[in-house]
């Protein structure tokens, strides 16, 4: 059986704006969006540009809009869609070419929240951390940086300087880690208007997250932390 894939294409060297192009793709019960894209690239049109690698939903490369919803191409199956499917590059990012978004802004936001363990103590031995302490942040450590949440977030769409769901979740992940002492260094970023306060709890980010780590919850827990930090700062000289 065949389905029609409508793909929004853009070649910056030729086009002033994107246009869509249709391809007929053979589909069976296990054909993913990524499989279909690979078929097109191999059989029909080698100029089609998209990112991919692991094809098992862990590397986070093949993010794409499927009928307007951000999805991982490798974990989205055409059996769940009608005869015509629309593929577009990730929303809210600039498009470099075809289905390749420019995600540098996302990487910069990640870097801004200091997403690494801050703890000056030196030791040759591992920290102790109970399974309960691990459970506090473990969910938020599962982010694969696929960027789907940024495409789901209208606040990021409206204001690209908003740090966004994944970066704020990562900040929360480290702030909640019993081994970390860097919260004070991370809070200034979170306290700003482009930090946690840029979020209005639309919540769609959590809906599209392929790893179900509920970034909206993380961001809003960050609001509680930031509000607490605000009160504490009032009592400091």
């Amino acid at each position: 059986m065949e389905k029609t894939l409508s793909i929004v294409r853009y070649n910056p060297e030729l086009d002033s704006q994107p246009h869509s192009q249709s391809y007929q793709v053979p589909v069976d019960n296990s054909t993913s969006v990524l499989d279909a894209l690979l078929y097109i690239q191999e059989q029909l049109d080698p100029t089609l540009a998209f990112r991919w690698s692991c094809r098992m939903a862990i590397c986070g490369s093949c993010s794409v809009m499927v009928n307007g919803i951000p999805k991982l191409g490798c974990k989205t199956f055409l059996r769940d869609y009608g005869d015509e499917v629309l593929l577009e590059p990730l929303a809210h990012f600039a498009t470099e070419k075809d289905l390749v978004p420019d995600i540098n802004v996302f990487l910069q936001h990640l870097q801004q929240v200091k997403p690494y363990l801050i703890n000056p103590e030196q030791s040759e031995q591992p920290h102790k951390q109970s399974p309960q302490q691990l459970a506090k942040y473990r969910k938020f450590a599962n982010c694969i940086n696929c960027g789907l949440c940024y495409s789901a977030c209208p606040q990021f769409g409206l204001n690209p300087e908003f740090l966004g769901p994944a970066a704020l979740t990562l900040a929360q992940r480290y702030n909640l880690d019993s081994r970390d002492q860097g919260k004070a260094e991370r809070m200034p970023e979170l306290n700003g208007k482009n930090g946690v306060w840029g979020c209005t709890f639309v919540g769609f980010c959590s809906d599209v997250c392929p790893k179900h780590l509920d970034p909206a919850a993380a961001v809003n827990q960050g609001k509680v932390a930031s509000a607490t930090d605000f009160v504490i700062s009032m009592f400091k000289p």
Binding site: P46, C54, C59, D98, D102, Y116, S130, P131
Partner: protein, 589 residues
């Protein structure tokens, strides 16, 4: 062409590359490090490793035992000085990662949890649920963000190493987003480009695992060592080859043939262990080569099942129960549901062996030096001499860390004291590469990159599979050589500069063909069976220590073919013996 000056170039942003970058940055805060990767670092294939990383941890364990397991696992083809170094530095590297924030799974008392793994005598595999590689990679990537002297070049593809007078002097790379060429001058270069599993058709590897770094070094005269040893992972999903971790068996999963029989007991791994009570080095916890070979025999006997046209056996996790599956193997459950529509809690997962890992690679010594001054290699692209003829599961994630660090420190040290290389020679090399690049463009003919790639991967699958014979390998080698001829005529029709994936894949195919040929030629020359290299030919179906207790070295010749020679294995304290698993090893011990 832009020119960039730096001290150390690291090619590859996976586990080994990031560990090397951090090691270099810490060794010398003045050292400028350029980290080049053809994908964003967190996309690197380290991300897909599931099971864990090995290091002696429990009081009842010993470095000696880890050493013995690794050497026996390698079928005595590991260099024992290297194994010694590895096992004695493994623990501190895993602790280092812990101190950088890796969310290792824990016991109730807050100490790190270890799990069983195939071929290991004792539980010594650290894990972070069943996404260990993912957590290691992200921990390293995020930690690397701390160091201002690491400059990242994401989505840069290296076209060539720049070498003059047997000394490396930088790389020539293309920025994928612009098509622009960059001449990056450096005193040291670390190759950390991963394996080459994608030269086979059915594999557990990501699309990026195309052997680029191996080919880069190979073409400059560095030998590729032990390339005939390609690991088939016994449990990949049929069709896609998606990895189902060995940790499933570590957590007591069992393998069944189509009759529901635990067939491994027929292949020297028995007797059958009771369900839910796995024993180290027995049955399902045997080494990967033995398990994949057992599958092949079952298939010959007609005892495998069928999943959409693929011969399969079955992984049974049902007895683990909901809680344990969710705690220890959540990703596996997700993968099984998504890709074969199976709920492991109630159903059997169809699985079959798929190419997983290249034991061989760029020849280095224990300090990750290659034959070219200033050029280092670490991780799967390298053959430091750790894995020999068969790698034990959970040794490779630790390898990334132990030898990634060594390579980074050595590269930083070398950068401080190296002399300048004549620029004229480098300019000429850049010009030559530029011309080669231009020559790739042209009208598309009948052959396509995808078509040739498919022929290559099918040829490798047929000729260099789990069991090999002379005729099959010779045919494979002939096919590869014919494909290389056709590759010379293969043109890239897309002339765009921005994200020209046709061009990128054209390069990758060229690299892959060279690596595949080195594999096949090495395999053909090794007239014995050892570890993952199993021959059906008469007189070659067992190990032959008197002739082949040696590393193979494939060297690139002017005409592009591989010349095979041999190198002594470094044996210090463990004399070659029979590899014993199942009841046999218990008796021995």
């Amino acid at each position: 062409m832009q020119i960039i000056q730096t001290d150390v170039v690291i090619i590859g942003g996976g586990g080994a590359g990031l560990r090397a970058a951090i090691a270099a940055a810490e060794a010398d805060p003045e050292c400028r490090i350029a980290l080049l990767s053809k994908v964003y670092p967190m996309r690197s294939h380290t991300v897909a490793a599931e099971g864990g990383a090995a290091a002696v941890t429990l009081p009842e364990d010993s470095l000696e035992q880890h050493f013995q397991d690794t050497v026996a696992g390698s079928d005595w083809l590991a260099d024992q000085d290297v194994v010694d170094y590895f096992v004695s530095h493994a623990y501190q590297e895993l602790v280092q990662l812990e101190r950088w924030g890796c969310p290792w799974s824990r016991k109730a008392d807050g100490t790190v949890q270890v799990r069983r793994f195939g071929g290991m005598k004792t539980e010594r595999t650290w894990f972070a649920a069943d996404k260990t590689g993912f957590h290691i990679l992200h921990t390293l990537f995020q930690t690397s963000l701390k160091y201002p002297n690491i400059q990242r070049f994401d989505e840069f593809f290296v076209l060539d190493l720049l070498v003059a007078e047997q000394q490396v002097a930088g790389v020539l790379a293309m920025q994928l987003s612009t098509g622009e060429l960059f001449h990056i001058q450096a005193k040291s270069v670390v190759l950390a480009t991963g394996g080459a599993g994608r030269v086979f058709h059915y594999n557990t590897n990501g699309g990026i695992v195309t052997g680029d770094g191996m080919a880069l070094a190979y073409r400059h005269g560095v030998a590729l060592r032990d390339m005939e040893f390609v690991q088939y992972h016994p449990t990949g999903l049929p069709g896609s080859g998606i990895l189902i971790t060995e940790a499933c068996r570590g957590e007591s999963g069992v393998l069944l043939n189509k009759d529901g029989y635990r067939y491994l007991q027929d292949y020297g791994l028995g007797p059958e262990t009771p369900l839910g009570q796995p024993e180290n080095k027995c049955m399902e916890l045997g080494p990967r080569d033995k398990l994949s070979q057992a599958f092949w025999h079952e298939q010959q006997k007609g005892r495998t099942g069928d999943y959409q046209g693929h011969a399969v056996v079955y992984l049974d996790l049902r007895h683990l129960g909901c809680d344990k599956l969710n705690e220890r193997l959540p990703f596996i459950c997700d993968l099984a549901k998504s890709y074969v529509n199976v709920d492991p809690q109630h159903q059997l997962i169809p699985i079959r062996p798929a190419v997983h890992y290249t034991m061989g690679g760029i020849q280095t010594d224990v300090q990750c030096h290659t034959a070219i001054q200033g050029l280092y290699a670490a991780g799967e692209c390298a053959s430091v001499g750790l894995h020999g003829a068969n790698r034990l599961g959970s040794n490779s994630l630790t390898e990334l860390l132990v030898f990634g660090k060594v390579a980074g420190m050595e590269a930083a040290r070398h950068a401080r004291q190296s002399r300048a290389v004549p620029e004229a020679a480098l300019k000429a090399q850049c010009q030559e590469q530029l011309q080669q690049l231009q020559a790739r463009f042209g009208e598309r003919q009948k052959d396509t990159v995808a078509g040739l790639r498919r022929e290559m991967t099918m040829a490798m699958e047929q000729g260099c599979g789990i069991y090999r014979d002379a005729a099959g390998m010779q045919q494979c080698l002939d096919t590869l050589q014919a494909l290389k001829q056709r590759y010379q005529q293969l043109k890239v029709g897309d002339r765009s500069k921005v994200f020209n994936y046709e061009l990128l894949q054209h390069y990758e195919l060229g690299f892959g063909l060279d690596v595949a040929e080195a594999m096949c030629a090495s395999a053909l020359a090794r007239r014995e069976s050892r570890g993952s290299h199993q021959r059906l030919d008469a007189g070659m179906n067992s190990r032959n220590d008197s002739d082949y207790l040696q590393h193979s070295l494939a060297s690139y010749q002017a005409d592009g073919s591989a010349r095979i020679s041999y190198q002594q294995v470094n044996i210090t304290k463990s004399a070659p013996a029979a590899r014993l698993y199942g009841a046999a090893q218990s008796k021995e011990a």
